[in-house]
Subunit: 253 residues, 3 copies
């Protein structure tokens, strides 16, 4: 299952049924869970003094696609799935079932919950704190320096179920509330209240999220999205969401 051209350090700890693609380099400070697939042309466990001796820990059932780079010194729960050319620096602590899209760049020293989904080309600055079931869409940047360049760093916080649409910047220290929605192409300089839509540059509150309607002819509210969007979540989670909303019916497809 390890391609003959792959370079796997004898010090790396590989679980059962691990597949490593061609021309991939696995360094020594790496623990890879069972049933994991790593694509071609990756560099996994890149050494850095800033990892401070901590290994890269990948859970079971991980999929890392080609040309990705993971440094030593980060920890991921089970079920991580990445696109291609992902870069993940040291000090990233992520829960289970994280998805990281193609070209995304996690700068490290950050905390990420369970079932978080980063779409393509997302930039997660250091000191970011991201809850569970968060969605971040392409070309979003979470910043941390209030007056660049400086040594003052204030991370962004994104609470559970929030969604940040494409090409938005979240400025240093901003807190995005639970279930909030940041519209596309926004620049968010102030905290966003729970279940609130903000948009614009600078972003301003627009309305409660439940006032947005699904553009599927149903007239039903588009948020909270967990009422109707269930793709890829486990049954027990979906059942809990349906119970929360009185069993709002099947997923729209």
């Amino acid at each position: 299952m390890i391609h003959p051209t792959a370079l796997v350090s004898p010090a790396a700890q590989l679980g059962e049924r691990v597949t490593i693609g061609p021309f991939t380099v696995i360094h020594g400070d790496v623990q890879i869970g069972a049933d994991t697939t790593i694509g071609s042309h990756c560099e996994i466990g890149t050494p850095t003094p800033r990892a401070e001796g901590r290994p890269l820990v990948l859970g079971a059932h991980t999929t890392i696609r080609s040309h990705s780079i993971f440094y030593a010194g980060s920890t991921f729960g089970d079920g991580l799935v990445t696109g291609h050319r992902v870069t993940v620096r040291e000090g990233t602590r992520a829960g289970s079932h994280l998805q990281i899209g193609t070209l995304s760049d996690l700068q490290g020293t950050c905390t990420i919950g369970d079932y978080v989904r980063f779409h393509s080309n997302v930039h997660i600055g250091q000191l970011s704190t991201i809850g569970n079931y968060v969605w971040i869409f392409p070309y979003v940047v979470l910043t941390n320096d209030p007056h660049p360049p400086s040594n003052v760093m204030r991370g962004v916080t994104v609470h559970d179920y929030a969604a940040i649409a494409t090409m938005s910047v979240v400025l240093p220290g901003v807190v995005i509330g639970r279930g909030a929605l940041v519209g596309a192409h926004s620049s968010v300089g102030r905290d966003v209240a729970e279940d609130t839509v903000v948009a614009g540059a600078p972003a301003k509150p627009i309305c409660p999220t439940h006032e947005l309607r699904l553009k599927d002819g149903s007239g039903r509210p588009a948020y909270p999205w967990r009422r109707h969007f269930h793709r890829g979540y486990p049954d027990e989670v979906v059942q809990a969401w349906l119970a929360e909303f009185g069993g709002a019916g099947p997923e729209i497809t």
Copy 2:
């Protein structure tokens, strides 16, 4: 012409005079036209169930630069040229002479005409429909989900000769008219009329494109660009354009 370190599946169908660079992987479900060059560190024909058994078809005279990734299940006409680190997912159907710049990310399930040019770091969402002679500049995102995350998908349509300038977002379902120009750093939420300039976030109509003047001292209109910009287009196309405008004179250089 195939580098000894390249891994080429015996099932791959290669035309005459095909060059494959070092450390490149060519999977089996691939048909590559004659006179094609593929650079180093690429992965070509990545398998996916969503390709549904369809191969990757590359036309003749294709150039794919290093570190690029093409999935199985897409079709390109002759003369495709890419930059580096391009990612192209399954279900892309493109005409001839497409150019895709470095870092661009085509999410697949889209239709692209002839002589389309994507500059660097363009993100083409699924269900996009792009005409002929279209230009899309760096960090432009074509979206498709009107209330993310959801299962409702509405692709963007870009008609012939339109140009979308850098760092602009086109929102789901928007139609960009023939020959229109989207200014840099815009967020386009409404359809754009033919030969019209829009700009801003949200983008608003500014003027007809012909009112913009070339900044070359000539005082001539900057649009339609095909009146004066001819680099890389075939003679017969350029002659037709010149005839359309009464033989407006030689290209500005």
Copy 3:
């Protein structure tokens, strides 16, 4: 120090103590200074007719991280440090101690001073002229075509000590003055005066930079940043900066 899987042209000129990582390709038109480390999966010295026979020249003490691509025909002073997946085209002339972040894309034919720092995913268009001690943050694009597509090209000029914050576009021909600050998510269409903050789309002058205060409780001005931010600069430079400001005290950490 050269990994056995690396492909190094016998024509390449390597200084002493040069390390080349696995699966990296070094072409012939390359001169690499002493004490340099090049990571895995790179392509260095990519040939192009537009290099016009000029080699790629890398100074001493260079670090190029994995998956990076440098064309022939560019020159860098000592101490270049890059992130991963950097792309640098021909005709780039850079001073010493340049830093180029992960995913950044230098289109070539540009001039860059000493101690310039590009963060991740910066796009430097052709004909850009960048001074010394300049900072450019993620997803910033320096453009050059005033009416795309055209053959009229006007590069951006960025003077010493200026900083351009994330997700900003600088439009063709714009001059960013010495010590100026461009706020995040801005679109800069007019020249920016020295030591001035601009922000917005279109960007407008906000205040002199010294009116911004450090968010560290000190109440001291956040700019000029060289008064308090010294990480990675040589002692003699820092001493000169401190003398300029009357010995403003130690760096904030």
